[in-house]
Assembly symmetry: C2
Homo-oligomer: 324 residues x 2
């Protein structure tokens, strides 16, 4: 039996066929055209899944279920997308619509939660039951896994780890608050700090790494640090300091078995993890006591996390829509 995992993004729909060993046997990608109506978007999602099946030489009869990750608030128990900022879903019974089109049980969840669950099922958090995933990308995303299950609060808006204030009255955040972790630890924040540093240090090696200030990315400061730039080292240290503050908060709250970092910045691996472990070993509650400590690592499934996580949603929820 196979499962289909669909990752619905603002730009692309990705669908993958996943086998019983959680290996992706085929994947397809089409443009989302999010301006289309809900019906049209759902038809494209199903077509993308069918194309992936065809490529894998798998028939729909061999498919157990379809899981979908959506960039918004999802009531997974009812299969409804409550709200989605850049796609026109408002209380949309997405699971029902796709189930009707395919005759399969369909499960829907928020994409960050689905990706975190993917890491639990088949990635860096495999075998762990209490897991926190913090994604450092354009924003700072969060995924909370408790007792092996996705936790997102009673209204599905939970897990917004990036929107916790660590600097009272600090930098403005797109969410409307000031001083959120997202404003200090996202790739966007790192890029901003790198740009400020380059403007303040016209002699810095940062300019050798990235001569065009409009092309700074989340790697620029790390690369310049490795090339010996003092200014870049300061930017990276400050970035890690803020990130460590936020991660310590999450550990003091959850004491998960493992905390994973994902997103573009996580590609820095040990360059990021080593100083973070130092901060956490001093700052976290109970760190001086003789008790097991939260492990820290990076996500390993990258873009496949969403597909594998979605394909495994059937393990978490009751099939409220049975085969038609």
């Amino acid at each position: 039996m196979y499962q289909i995992g669909i990752d619905l993004g603002g730009t692309f729909i990705k669908a993958g066929v996943v086998d019983e060993q959680n290996k992706i046997v085929s994947k397809k990608m089409v443009e989302s055209h999010v301006d289309a109506d809900v019906e049209g978007l759902c038809t494209r999602m199903v077509q993308c899944a069918v194309d992936a099946l065809t490529e894998a030489g798998v028939t729909m009869d061999e498919v157990g279920s379809i899981g979908v990750g959506v960039p918004g608030a999802v009531d997974a128990g009812r299969g409804v997308v409550v709200y989605c900022s850049n796609i026109g879903f408002r209380n949309t019974p997405l699971a029902g619509i796709i189930s009707q089109k395919t005759g399969k049980p369909v499960y829907v969840q928020n994409d960050a939660n689905v990706a975190a669950y993917g890491e639990v099922v088949a990635g860096a958090a495999k075998g762990y039951k209490d897991v926190i995933v913090v994604t450092l990308g354009t924003g700072v995303g969060g995924g909370i896994i408790i007792d092996g299950k996705i936790y997102s609060g009673f209204n599905s808006f939970g897990g917004e780890l990036g929107h916790t204030v660590i600097v009272h009255d600090g930098e403005p955040c797109p969410c409307g608050r000031r001083g959120c972790l997202e404003s200090y630890a996202s790739a966007t924040a790192l890029i901003k700090q790198t740009r400020i540093s380059m403007r303040n240090h016209t002699e810095s090696r940062l300019w050798n790494i990235c001569p065009d200030i409009s092309k700074i990315d989340g790697k620029t400061a790390f690369d310049a640090m490795r090339a010996g730039s003092k200014a870049a080292t300061e930017v990276v240290n400050q970035y890690i300091n803020y990130l460590g503050c936020g991660l310590t908060n999450f550990i003091n709250i959850f004491q998960p078995e493992i905390l994973l970092i994902g997103g573009g910045i996580s590609k820095e691996g040990e360059t990021l993890l080593e100083p973070l472990r130092k901060i956490l070993s001093v700052e976290t509650y109970g760190s001086s006591m003789d008790a097991p400590k939260t492990k820290i690592g990076v996500c390993t499934l990258r873009n496949d996390a969403g597909t594998i996580g979605a394909a495994n949603l059937h393990n978490l929820y009751e099939s409220f829509i049975t085969k038609g």
Copy 2:
């Protein structure tokens, strides 16, 4: 059938006999003498429970189980107190010891978690499954209830909601970090801010409310505000502003059905809740969206929360120690 709930504190042991309607039919209190050995302390706990039974006219045969709340980190699944700062418990199999003395199944948990669970069983959070309790006392304590069960992380050190930084590099906290919520939202912090304000405003009505600066308590600023003091109003507003920042963080993470405030400061009731609701209605993630919102309230069981919560621990855990 009755259950016994024991609240072990640094100064007093309290034991109560709780009936099937979660009514406390009798309670007893003795001094803890925490400097005694573990064996002696356990004997006192059992004696206190037996005294409460005698007063209620209930025999040990009519008791289903004994629950104990302990001010420390507890591995509830094994009935072991991992660490307790002011009592000499270090990996102490407390449930086993008390079970041997009584022949009853015994359950142990952290006292803040037990009190939060008490509110869920019979207090202000009755009927709710995802609940956060924030206790504003000497420190800022936390209790996390997820799906009707106490959550404290894989190593039992979780739920330290007071030790999350909201002011990066802010006031020093007893935990070793700087800028923790506890340093801004505990009764201790409020008393400190009140004292500073009184020193800065020698003409303030605060001095009428509390002529002796060494006797300021968590009520002083609230009372002076009600008496029209501008300086006190500023202290209270700032206090609520910081508290609201922390509570918003917790809602963005957990989106619980209800968030309860406990501890001495919570006696202010609506004086505290009304401005907090205003902050949360603007600051929390998804607040502008058409979705159900977290309710805010105060704990109602006061000192009985620990007894009732402890008496109900048998609902949460497997009886790993059966009747002897």
